[in-house]
């Protein structure tokens, strides 16, 4: 009986994930069969979803470009540079920061960061305006996709840092000591012993961070003043899938609701693909490393 219950719980998880996919597909179906003119924008589902998919990718890309180098450096600092007593406390602090609810980061981005970034955006528009991504006129409120990307970076950073720190700490001590004994400086030791060992782990941490950044809702919903897809990062505009759902779903009914669920399905598929690639890299890495 007990083993049956345990098996049943396992089967329930498989069923739940299956149900998530099935219900999303069933509820999204009406969107795909609706006449193109009835979809928001009036040009069919593809024309509706394409700009917000690109917006989602832009925001996630900005977040990762900022968070990856800094996150890896923070992890290196905690694992290899900080004094040991300090390192324990710092690791704990990073874990706590990963636990701060996203709505708080969103509120911080909307009320504090956006207004701080408005002056730099103005400067970018004046001096680098000839580059399409910095084309003016800069937003007066600072509530742009770049701000949203920076807030996402701040949220993803503790995740990347705490995962890569775990991996750096697993580097075989003998390799590191051997490198130091051969006269390597600390940086050379890290480059020759630590980084090659943890390359797979870093990539998978970044992929998981990417999954998080793609699906993150509140930070973007609160920070970004959305609009149609544009190339400039410092004007208000662009939108992400998750924020679109959060902003419009509470008032949606009928076809609009099915449309948003279809958008959710697209997001689900994208994050699923990203996560599967990440897991695949982790598993491949496990086979090659001699750590186990």
């Amino acid at each position: 009986m007990f083993s049956g219950a345990a098996l049943g719980a396992g089967a329930l998880i498989v069923a739940v994930l299956f149900a998530v996919a099935v219900f999303l597909i069933v509820q999204a179906m009406p969107t795909f069969f609706a006449p193109a003119a009835d979809i928001t924008g009036g040009n069919g589902f593809f024309a509706y979803i394409f700009p917000i998919v690109i917006g989602t990718l832009i925001a996630a890309a900005i977040a990762l470009l900022i968070a990856t180098p800094i996150g890896v450096a923070v992890a290196l600092f905690i694992s290899h540079y900080a004094p040991r007593k300090l390192a324990r406390g710092l690791g704990y602090v990073v874990d706590l920061l990963a636990a701060i609810p996203s709505v708080v980061y969103g509120a911080w981005g909307a009320s504090f960061l956006a207004s701080q970034l408005q002056v730099p955006y103005q400067w970018l528009a004046d001096n680098l305006g000839w580059i399409p991504i910095f084309a003016g006129p800069a937003s007066n409120t600072g509530k742009t996709i770049l701000t949203a990307g920076i807030v996402l970076a701040v949220m993803v950073l503790p995740i990347i840092a705490s995962m890569t720190r775990e991996i750096f700490l697993q580097t075989p001590m003998l390799h590191q000591e051997a490198a130091l004994a051969l006269g390597a400086t600390r940086w050379e030791m890290i480059r020759m012993a630590v980084l090659p060992f943890s390359r797979g782990g870093i990539i998978s941490a970044v992929m998981l961070g990417l999954g998080r950044a793609l699906g993150e809702t509140m930070a973007v919903a609160l920070v970004l003043s959305s609009g149609p897809l544009i190339a400039s990062l410092i004007r208000s505009g662009n939108q992400t899938i998750a924020a679109e759902i959060a902003l419009d779903f509470p008032e949606a009914f009928g076809l609009r609701m099915h449309e948003l669920i279809a958008a959710g399905l697209v997001l689900f598929v994208i994050t699923l693909a990203v996560n599967m690639v990440a897991r695949w890299i982790i598993n491949r890495h496990k086979e090659f490393s001699g750590a186990n």
């Binding site: 498989v14 800094i70 701040v154 940086w187 919903a221 609160l222 779903f249």
Partner: protein, 368 residues
Amino acid sequence: MATLMTERKRSALTRGRLPKYTPYVVAVSAIVVAAALMSLIGFNVFGWAVLSAVLFTAANVVTSAVVEGRRKATDKLATSLVLGAFLLALLPLVSVIWTVLVNGVPGLLTPGFLTSSMNGVTGAVDNASVANGTQVLGGVYHALIGSLLITFWATLISVPVGLLTAIYLVEYSAGNKFSKAITFLVDVMTGIPSIVAGLFAAALFSMLMGPGTKTGFVAAVALSVLMIPVVVRSSEEMLKIVPNELREAAYALGVRKWRTILKVVIPTAISGIASGVTLAIARVIGETAPLLVTAGFANTINTNVFGGWMASLPTYIYAQIMNPISPSTPDPSTQRAWGAALLLIILVMLLNLGARLVARIFAPKTGR
């Protein structure tokens, strides 16, 4: 004679090394030079700090390159960059906590904030409190109740399912194909965006109970989709590290497998399982997006999770910021939002600390 002295000073071991005090000298001079430069173009503390750091790095690396050679210089550059990145990362994180504290303390300390709901608090009330300078009315009582109830029901669903799955994976499956599939799917579930989990629950209940069904229970189902994988992963890890000798000793005494699990395996692992569950609760109590699409917004106290819209702390923060009660004077709403944000962070931190405490209290007794 003089040449002999210098020869002796430059022994092979110390040749080409900077004295130990060099970084301090460089740091002080970098700060002074930066201050001088900043006073030329208009002084501000932030620019001063950044300029000092850049000057320090450059000077340190150049002196090292000249005296000690390229390898040492690269090492110093890397050290500076790592330390700089760490400080840069601290900046926004400290700023987040500072902003919440500064803005949240007045809201949280307003009398009645924790014990009153938003029932009857209208734009006119907020306008009056700003115009007369009286305290901001309205509070988070209903949202706090909602958050606790929804999280409680989510825990009630997730813990049995998650724990039993972990038991199946560790004790019964013996690594068969089905268990590998479960492990893989649990990994995939960990990455489900929270809004998609909310959409799933909303779609499920709108098919079962009619469109537009929004109750606390729908939200609890959405949260348990996010919570189950966390519980499974942490419980699985904990069950795995229970030594096999304990199980074998129980079997040798003729104890049935299910009784062994209940009486030997789980009590040994209970500290880790309990702390894992607490961390999972801490994770879902702050989730906003799924609640937004499943529980709706409410201004009154609702203790029935099976009927009616329900407020929660995260959606309360979101609603107060996005749609202030009084659009013309949003300050009272902002104050309430930050008060609720501070309360939420305190809750999450307490749960995190609680997880550590729980792990220590329930740790298996060793010795006699």
